[in-house]
């Protein structure tokens, strides 16, 4: 097992180098840099521009820049942000934490909703309930999450209008924007956590919708296939009750690929969350990434890209290992 993990790990190294090279290459596609943008401002002396260029080495040839950046990266240094004049790691840390809160929250929601729905549908194949779930999963797969977010915001406001007129309750039942309430700084740390999670409910749910819909459909198909297989018939023939057949014998094998595939879901959630962050002004990766792109603050852009590449690789590694744990055939091939 250890041997397998080590082999998988070494396998990642060329991909990582390739991905960093590609990312670096793309950011260098367009000539011009932050210092050139600065030159457009009023009252900037040519010496300031020259100092800026010398300091960040923006005029060096491509290979020099790449080697320098890669060398720094291997020492754990992501370079400096031009725009905010501080290390990139300082700039990107908070947005990455904030995005991870959403990603992990939506991952939990994903399993919390999809597994019961998939099982529920599968044991009632072709019933009205099953068809309702199917219809909802088509809906969930087709609605763009940024649009869904806007619709839910509108719905919550309409609900507030309704409760105000009928019950005199003039509050939104869930926060629809930002990550914290006003007065966040004065809260106790427990109240802070509660406040952030409270704000995360709506965006996390929106990000999870597509995944819930997809997972429900696949789990339903898997369960149906297993419920018709021979070992289930044997289990029933032994006189086991429905509960134990469904949950112990059919659900377990059907669910394994999903639990193991947790790592594969991470990139989708990181990507998928991006536009929801923009729409609901969640201070995550994507809003800051867009801002840095606009300013040609390329080391911040690269910093985000590299961290997400690493997160993605860790995710994939975890799912490979989990899959190997549950399926001995993979370990020995």
């Amino acid at each position: 097992m250890l041997q397998y993990i080590i082999r998988r790990f070494f396998y990642l190294i060329p991909t990582f180098i390739g991905a960093t090279f590609l990312a670096f290459l793309i950011t260098q596609l367009v000539p011009g840099d932050f210092c050139d943008q600065k030159a457009l401002e009023a009252n900037v002396r040519p010496e300031t521009i020259a100092r800026c260029k010398a300091r960040y080495g923006t005029e060096d040839p491509f290979i020099t820049k790449y080697v320098r950046w890669m060398g720094d990266l291997l020492r754990g240094d992501l370079g400096d942000s031009f725009a905010s004049n501080q290390p990139v790691s300082n700039v990107i840390r908070r947005p990455i934490y904030n995005s991870m809160i959403l990603v992990i929250f939506s991952l939990i929601l994903l399993y919390l909703f999809a597994i019961p729905l998939g099982v529920f549908s599968a044991v009632r194949q072709y019933s009205v309930a099953d068809q309702t779930v199917s219809a909802f999963s088509y809906f969930g797969l087709a609605i763009p999450n940024f649009f869904f977010a806007l619709v839910l915001i509108l719905a919550l406001f309409l609900l507030r209008g309704f409760t105000r007129d009928n019950f005199g309750y003039n509050e939104l039942i869930l926060p629809v924007a930002q990550m914290t309430s006003s007065g966040f700084e004065q809260m106790s740390s427990w109240a802070k956590i509660k406040d952030i999670l409270w704000h995360a409910i709506l965006p996390a749910f929106v990000i999870a919708t597509g995944g819930i819909a997809g997972l429900t459909r696949v789990l339903r198909a898997q369960m149906i296939e297993f419920l018709q297989s021979d070992f289930i018939r044997t289990a029933r023939a032994k006189g086991l009750d429905d509960r134990s057949v469904t949950y112990k014998h059919a659900l377990r094998p059907a669910i394994i690929p999903f639990v193991a595939g947790i790592g594969g879901l991470l990139p989708g959630l990181i990507s998928g969350g991006g536009l929801v962050e923009v729409v609901m002004s969640w201070p995550g990766i994507t809003p800051v990434l867009l801002e840095s792109l606009g300013r040609q603050d390329i080391y911040v852009v690269l910093g985000f890209t590299i961290i997400s590449v690493i997160l993605l690789m860790i995710g994939n590694l975890i799912s490979d290992i989990l899959l190997a744990v549950v399926d001995p055939r993979i370990r020995y091939s």
Binding site: F146, F147, V151, G161, V279, L290, S308
Partner: protein, 382 residues
């Protein structure tokens, strides 16, 4: 027995018969048919031009125009008409409110000529006849107006010309790249396969949205290498082309991988060995034996890939990285007006309408794709 009865049915005839029985997929096909039809005749169906607006009287954020059917004097059913709209200030909140001016009715007319909103159908036929309209100074805004007072109904129709078309174009770019790289990887195997698959893995390792955003924002810059090489000035049609290329480039990896694995299976089929034994060359085997085998699979893959591209384009447009906003509209761009309103969306809910065609287009392409997949799958035949 006549000739046609003796002939066995082709794969596509069988698939079509299967598809026709798939009710939901047919619904999807019908919705798509209507949407693409409206897109082609957008200029005719839309009462106003894409960027047409008037500064006075103010038309910003007008709610959808009410259409009346009952004659107020006789109380009987009459031909549909609208009222002109006056704007007033709410005495308390100082907000602008629109009121109907019921002094005069304006019947809805059909096939009206409006030279100020002329259009071309398929870029060939110029015309200024519109399906419906009302006499000035009344205006008919079926789905309300945006912050500049532009008619959202007309803009949604024109938006289809970007949002519905870009997905189809991008899928071809992806398919070409995917077929080329997946094809040679799957057929030749060995080190060619290794290199190409590593490349796909590298592309996969960067989260899709990042790649999309970074590429789209860099390739809008007129200093980018593609524009430099081909001397493009990054006019709006150039930007459109770049968005297509970016979308296609980000999407080809997955296609290449599936094509490769499919070819790997086909390569081991007995008929491929038979062809080889008979002395057929690589080109003949690829074109005559392998590609026809992948055709049905490709049709399904393309159909299911298009909604992803539509989604990606609307997402890019939403953050202002889609096609140019100067002389085109896309549904994502129109939704941008809604996000710009932030939390006051409750006062202008009609700005969300452009999201509905996005949803319908993605849903219908998914339904048609699922239907095709079942129709081509011999195990699912009824």
């Amino acid at each position: 027995m006549n000739k046609s009865e003796r002939q066995s049915k082709s794969q596509y005839q069988i698939a079509w018969e299967q598809f026709r029985r798939h009710k939901i997929a047919l619904w999807g096909l019908a919705i798509l048919g209507i949407m693409y039809f409206l897109t082609i005749f957008a200029g005719f169906v839309a009462p106003y031009g894409l960027n047409e607006y008037r500064r006075f009287p103010v038309t910003a954020f007008r709610p959808p125009t009410k259409i009346h059917w009952i004659n107020p004097e006789t109380g009987k059913l009459t031909r549909p008409f609208v009222y002109d709209t006056k704007d007033e200030r709410d005495p308390v909140t100082r907000q602008r409110v629109y009121k109907e001016d019921t002094s005069k009715t304006y019947p809805i007319k059909f096939f009206v000529k409006r030279p100020e909103a002329s259009y071309k159908i398929l870029g060939i036929w110029r015309s200024d006849v519109h399906l419906f309209g009302v006499d000035e100074p009344a205006r008919i805004f079926l789905w309300g107006t945006n912050n500049l007072g532009k008619d959202i109904f007309s803009r949604v129709l024109y938006g289809g010309q970007v949002s519905l078309v870009i997905g189809i174009l991008a899928v071809w770019v992806s398919l070409l790249l995917g077929l080329f790289f997946g094809g040679i990887a799957g057929y030749y195997g060995g080190w060619v396969d290794d290199i190409i698959m590593r490349l796909v893995e590298v592309l996969d390792a960067i989260p899709g949205l990042f790649l999309l955003i970074v590429l789209a924002s860099l390739l809008r810059d007129p200093r980018n290498p593609i524009a430099q090489t081909f001397g493009l000035k990054m006019t709006s049609s150039d930007i459109f082309l770049m968005v297509v290329i970016v979308l296609g480039f980000v999407g080809w990896g997955g296609l290449a991988r599936t094509i490769r694995s499919f070819l790997l299976t086909l390569r081991e089929m007995d008929y491929t060995y038979a062809a080889k034994a008979l002395g057929a060359g690589d080109t003949r085997i690829i074109w005559q034996h392998l590609l026809p085998g992948t055709a049905s699979f490709l049709i399904v893959t393309i159909t299911l890939a298009i909604p992803g591209f539509i989604l990606a384009e609307t997402g890019l447009s939403l953050i202002g990285l889609g096609p140019s906003e100067v002389d085109s509209a896309s549904w994502g761009m129109l939704l941008r007006d809604a996000t710009a309103r932030g939390l006051s969306i409750q006062f202008v809910p009609w700005l969300l309408i452009p999201g509905i065609p996005i949803f319908l287009a993605i849903l219908s392409w998914n339904l048609v794709g699922d239907g095709l997949r079942d129709a081509f799958d011999p195990r699912k035949r009824k």
